[in-house]
Amino acid sequence: MKIQFTSEQAALRDELRQYFRALMTKELRDECERDMGEGGGPLWREALRQMGRDGWIGLGWPESLGGRGLTPLEQFIFVEEVMRAGYPFPFLTTESVGPILAEHGNAWIQREIVPKILAGDLLIAIGYSEPGAGTDLANLKTRAERDGDDWVINGQKMWTSLAHFCDYTWLAVRTDPEAPKKHKGISMFLVPNSDPGWSCTPVHTLGGVRTNATYYDNIRVSDDHRVGELHGGWKLITGQLNRERLSLINFGPSAELFNATVRWARDTELPAGGRVIDQGWVQMNLARCRAAIECMKLIVYKQSWAMTAGNLEMADASAAKVYGSETFIELYRALGEIVGQAGLLRDGAGCDSARRLERLYRTASIITFGGGTNEIQRDIISAAGLWMPRASR
């Protein structure tokens, strides 16, 4: 038990912070801002390739897979720092689908896909949800049918985020409509978004963030594009979602926003005299946020440590997801109260925290239901963590 960075880990964090200070030019920042913090622009893509060339993306990947062989904890330090710097890092590709492909992909995927992910040269959207398949994902209807050596894919996905600038979709499809249990008839494919049968239309959300409805019209792919076992897709989906859950809870940006808000409250005089931070309720709000973010930090560090040690508990991963997603919302409220009216102004009236909070509160709800809704996570905690029976579904 030693809950402190080793000196190497502290040095890595400092190095990364330095690195991103240089990488995040004004132009890149403006572009990311324009793209609503989602990325996808030309400077954003170039910066990702730069990170790939500099060997950062696969920092914690095994050397046999083209990584640098450090542990998940170092990988996590990297992701925290890149997110903290305000770069919309495509962690779904690199941290959740990528490792699954590296582990389960066939020779073609190992050769053509994985190296490009580590090079920052290939982006993947996640195609699980459908109009009729949300939390009950196994209800999905998009299907792949065998035709000679190929597969022909037809169907529609909903909420396929980032798909409009991704290269592939990590697609869950039904391959066995007769399977006695719905989740036993699902397989995973990597479908090229460049296929003429692939199309998407935008879906706009509260936070201004774009997501997509995607359509799959007689897309023909070779069996190389199938990942893992036939009808064995469910295991890959849950494995990917476990990883996604961990990467959704970043404390880096919250810690940075907290620091910035404290500095602002310390430096800002009230018209009636005294500083913003001299008010008792402001100190209480800040203290609450400080205590909440501290535990977010500890929870995610512990997860990374557990991944390294190979003893990640399902209940703990779910606890991290519930705690983190609900804490974000509370933080944006408590910090929003402090910046006050400025937090309703889209430019933040000169207060950078306020500007960020104005957007953040609008995007905060996504991960309480996305990435496996918190109700299901709580079911997992009581069942897997405490052995409580649960109602059949």
Binding site: M1, I3, V262, A306, A309, D379, L386, M388, P389
Partner: protein, 377 residues
């Protein structure tokens, strides 16, 4: 960054769990309800001492078990899990650890050695009426008297005061804060028993011209740093105890609701019930991590002011929420004195409020932030 336990730490935890599991039960605790008898199981205390657990935080050089505060925290967690009637917290933190760290060899000879040998019980008198800040005694005064000190004033609700042979006392001195050990049987010392919510043996300690010989003075006037050191460790120790209490209460709730049937199904299968317990799980994980962080930093004598406050905030919030959630999902059984949850409820409250509730520590943390401390690295 290492969240694992060494094999020695696992052994300590296992040994404690085994002894406490064997010797503490709902039946044995019944004897102390409503102060029917002082809540101090001397046979159990002897067993723990003989097993080397009481000496865990003291180095081998001083005759202890050769471990530190982290290992003591693990022991305290087990004491909390069983809500065992033993003075581990007050004796080990308020007595042994302070002596090892701050006493000269003479005082170690007088108090630490016999305490380790099981001949003396020690404790710490740190709270005063209306003043729960150990660093800043206001109602106890010390003046120089010969080579030693003369004490006047009072301390409130001192755990195991009547059972202890010596109590650490901090007192305001004209030049600062004096810290010394007071013989509970010395002339001028009056112990006034009081009854506390969890039936812990406690007494108010009244000091009327109590003479303390120089040999028993840790620091005649510059003792704020000692009390700061002690205050943080007492806080963290209560958090460690709280982990065990809360975890046990949660597990009781999980197993009770898994058995109890209504509408023909276990009540645990109602999502509202399962989720309430899941929230306890998340709260306890936060408390555990915040506490382990504080304890491991304190173990290494690192600066841990912010981390310790955060742990105590979680001990308060988690304690409160787990307390009422576990009662609620038990229905009436949760408060039935023939079932064991109710005693856990008392201890959750005890740990929540002792040495300051969440708001006290939030306010202090807020002041540090305003003063420019405590930002994230």
């Amino acid at each position: 960054m290492d969240f694992g336990f060494s094999s020695e730490q696992q052994d300590i935890r296992q040994l404690a769990r085994q002894i406490l599991g064997e010797q503490v039960s709902a039946e044995s605790l019944k004897a102390y309800d409503e102060y029917a008898a002082p809540r101090f199981d001397r046979a159990l205390w002897r067993t723990l001492s003989e097993a080397g657990l009481v000496a865990v935080p003291v180095s081998e050089a001083e005759g202890g078990g050769g471990f530190g505060f982290m290992e003591l925290a693990l022991l305290l967690e087990e004491v909390g899990r069983s809500i065992a009637p033993v003075p581990v917290l007050s004796h080990c933190v308020g007595g042994l650890m302070v002596l090892e760290r701050f006493a000269g060899s003479d005082l170690k000879q007088r108090l630490l050695r016999p305490a380790l040998a099981g001949e003396l019980l020690l404790g710490a008198a740190v709270l005063e009426a209306g003043n729960e800040d150990p660093v800043n005694p206001l109602l106890t005064r010390a003046e120089t008297s010969g080579d030693g000190l003369r004490l006047n004033g009072s301390k409130q609700a001192v755990a195991f005061a009547r059972q202890s042979d010596y109590l650490l006392v901090a007192a305001r001195h004209v030049d600062g804060v004096a810290v010394c050990f007071v013989d509970t049987r010395a002339p001028g010392v009056t112990l006034q028993d009081c009854q506390s919510t969890a039936f812990e043996p406690q007494a108010h300690v009244l000091l009327d011209n109590v003479e303390v010989a120089a040999e028993y003075v840790l620091e005649p006037s510059d003792g704020a740093a000692i009390m700061h050191w002690l205050g943080e460790r007492l806080c963290a120790a209560h958090c460690a105890h709280q982990i065990g209490v809360a975890d046990a209460a949660m597990r009781m709730a999980a197993s009770y609701t898994s058995e109890r049937q209504q509408f023909g199904v276990p009540v645990a299968t109602f999502q509202a019930v399962g989720h309430r317990v899941a929230d306890c799980y998340i709260d306890i994980e936060c408390l555990r991590l915040a506490t382990y962080q504080a304890c491991s930093l304190l173990h290494d004598e690192c600066e841990a002011g912010v981390e310790t406050r955060i742990a105590k905030i979680w001990a308060g919030d988690t304690g409160h929420r787990v307390n009422y959630a576990t009662q609620h999902v038990h229905g009436g059984m949760g408060i039935d004195r023939d079932y064991s949850l109710w005693r856990y409820s008392l201890w959750l409250r005890h740990n929540e409020m002792t040495l300051g509730g969440s708001s006290v520590h939030l306010a202090a943390l807020g002041r540090s932030l305003a003063a420019g401390e405590g930002l994230f690295a």
